[in-house]
């Protein structure tokens, strides 16, 4: 027989032998358990996560779709509309808020995490950390509401400033209020992640650096930071992604010129605009921005966070 045919027939025959009924039944039986374990959740995720995402991908290509209307044609109009200056500005604004918040959280959170992980008395570390994280467990709505009480022109901060004879602030309904509110919301996340990273820092490295004559600043920049870079990246990623899609803070604390992408999407579906096609396209763009951020920051973080082994 020609060489090629010989090579082809042998595996085919082998396959045929394995695929007899008994073996197939055995395979099925063996897969009952994994199916039972992974099936239900998998089906649920498929139905309510995957399918919906695919659906909005489709709708994003339907220009000007109103609810209740039939899909008449596809086109890039929705995406092109996003390129208009007004909407690009919204995207830019969201990204600016997110970046600013991330930086603020990093700058303010790192000292806290450092102190907690490396300088606080050992016995109290866990408790102190939990205390810092505690506000996370309360409603983010209410925490933002607290800031309204503080920031409004007749609010607490101005009361205090007035009592001290200082000029009053008018931060309410401005970008600054949004930064304050967002930083307040996400600082605990940053501290938590940085703490986890700093806790694992090998102190002997710091000692070694000091022994080799490095001053504290050099030690910090050349030992501490590189060692905790994955944690920093993870923290920044989490804060960036969550603040990018944040809805509550800009809506309650921001003024009429603080429209963010989340609010814009909301308006397309449950607000005045009723343009589901455009809203879907905006959602896809948001997902894209998030994916980009993840890809970028994962470069510096743990390559494969093997949560599922």
């Amino acid at each position: 027989m020609p060489q090629g045919m010989d090579k082809g027939i042998k595996p085919a025959v082998a396959l045929g032998r394995t695929l007899n009924l008994a073996n197939v039944l055995k395979m099925l039986k063996a897969s009952i358990r994994p199916l039972g374990l992974l099936g239900p959740a998998g089906v649920w995720l498929l139905l309510l996560m995957v399918l919906p995402t695919l659906l909005i991908t489709e709708l994003s290509f339907v220009p000007g779709l109103r609810p209740g209307e039939a899909i008449e044609g596809y086109g890039l109009l929705n995406y092109l509309r996003i390129l208009e200056p007004t909407y690009l500005q919204v995207l830019r604004r969201s990204a600016t808020f997110a970046t600013g918040t991330t930086l603020l959280c990093l700058l303010l959170g790192f000292p806290v995490a450092y102190w907690l992980a490396l300088m606080a008395p050992k016995r109290w570390r866990n408790l102190l950390l939990v205390l810092f994280i505690l506000p996370l467990w309360t409603s983010s709505l209410l925490r933002t509401y607290a800031w309204i009480t503080l920031l409004r022109p007749s609010g607490v901060i101005n009361l205090a400033l007035g009592a001290l004879g200082l000029p009053t602030q008018s931060l309410m309904n401005t970008h600054w209020a949004v930064y304050i509110g967002m930083t307040y919301s996400f600082l605990p996340y940053m501290v938590l992640i940085l703490y986890a990273s700093l806790e694992r820092l090998d102190l002997r490295l710091l000692e070694a650096a000091a022994d080799l004559g490095a001053n504290p600043r050099t030690t910090f920049w050349r030992v501490t930071v590189p060692q905790t870079l994955p944690g920093i990246a993870a923290g920044c990623l989490l804060v960036f992604v969550t603040s990018l899609g944040d809805f509550v803070v800009p809506t309650l604390l921001g003024g009429p010129s603080s429209m963010t992408i989340s609010r814009l999407i909301y308006n397309q579906f449950l607000g005045v605009a009723r343009n589901w096609g455009f809203g879907s396209a905006l959602s896809m763009v948001l997902i894209l921005m998030v994916s980009l951020a993840i890809a970028l920051l994962l470069k510096y973080g743990d390559r494969n966070p093997e949560i599922y082994s």
């Binding site: 995720l45 309510l48 409603s139 809506t251 579906f269």
Partner: protein, 267 residues
């Protein structure tokens, strides 16, 4: 920054990190404290202190609409978490045990609810429900909440799974237990603290959820939506009272969660 050694030597001297830390703790807690103080203020407007009073708490107690909203939220959260705890745990166990073609895809999909912003998930779910003509109701909200609940529970349980002793289960099998029995009577009890911890996390997330509920709940009015509409229409002192109560409740849940985590680490 000082090295840790220096810090121990100079514990007396206040390091600037400690200073920043104190500032940040104040930053975190002052708004909450202010809310608490104002919840006891007789006057409607924060500017004037009219005297200590429980008026707003009393008003809160008589607010039927709010309690109905709380009821709706609890219904959604409890149902979603209950079902998700089972599904999520099974999923975590399955992923830890088996390798199969397409596993990374499955894993990726299970990450999605954590990564994709709430608004996008909410929107996608609404669009899906509208396209298959399912009217929005309490059940659609529960269904939507289940998605992120099971993702979070799965992650918490998975991280615990890694640290478990596989010999226990093998021993059970050797002693004649069926794999199912081994699962239920050996593995699950070991995982219980993690499952509970994950459930608490999912519960809190579900109770606090605004966007997904806005888009998927019909006829039901979960608490965050009610609070949101009230906050948008102005400062109301009974919201202060509500905040204090909810913060206390959350603190309790956080303490519980910490307790479970602590227990699970001791096993």
């Amino acid at each position: 920054m000082n090295s840790a050694k220096d810090a121990t030597k100079n514990r007396r001297r206040l390091s600037w990190q400690a200073l920043v830390t104190v500032l940040m703790y104040s930053f975190m807690y002052i708004p909450i404290i202010i809310l608490g103080v104002y919840s006891f203020n007789e006057s409607r407007y924060g500017a004037i202190w009219k005297g200590f009073s429980l008026t707003w708490y009393r008003k809160l107690m008589g607010d039927e609409r709010l309690f109905l909203a709380l009821g709706d939220s609890l219904k959604i959260a409890l149902c979603a978490v209950a079902v998700s705890s089972v599904l999520g745990t099974l999923m975590a166990v399955g992923l830890a045990r088996y390798r199969f073609p397409g596993k990374s895809l499955y894993v990726g999909v299970s990450y999605l609810p954590l990564i994709i912003p709430d608004i996008a998930i909410a929107v996608a779910t609404l669009v899906f429900l509208a396209s298959v003509s399912i009217p929005l109701s309490l059940w659609t909200a529960i269904a939507a909440h289940m998605v992120f609940c099971l993702a979070y529970i799965a992650i918490v349980v998975s991280s615990r799974l890694q640290g478990l002793d596989p010999n226990l289960e093998e021993a059970a099998l050797d002693l004649g237990a069926t794999p199912t029995q081994a699962l239920i009577r050996v593995l699950i009890p070991q995982l219980m603290p993690a499952i509970l911890s994950g459930c608490l996390l999912a519960f809190v997330l579900s109770m606090d959820d605004l966007l997904i509920s806005s888009f998927t709940a019909g006829g039901a009015n979960p608490l965050p939506i009610e609070i949101f509409s009230r906050v948008k229409t102005g400062i109301k002192p009974d919201i202060n009272a509500l905040s204090v109560l909810l913060i206390l409740a959350s603190g309790l849940i956080a303490a519980l969660s910490e307790y479970f985590r602590y227990k699970s680490e001791r096993i």
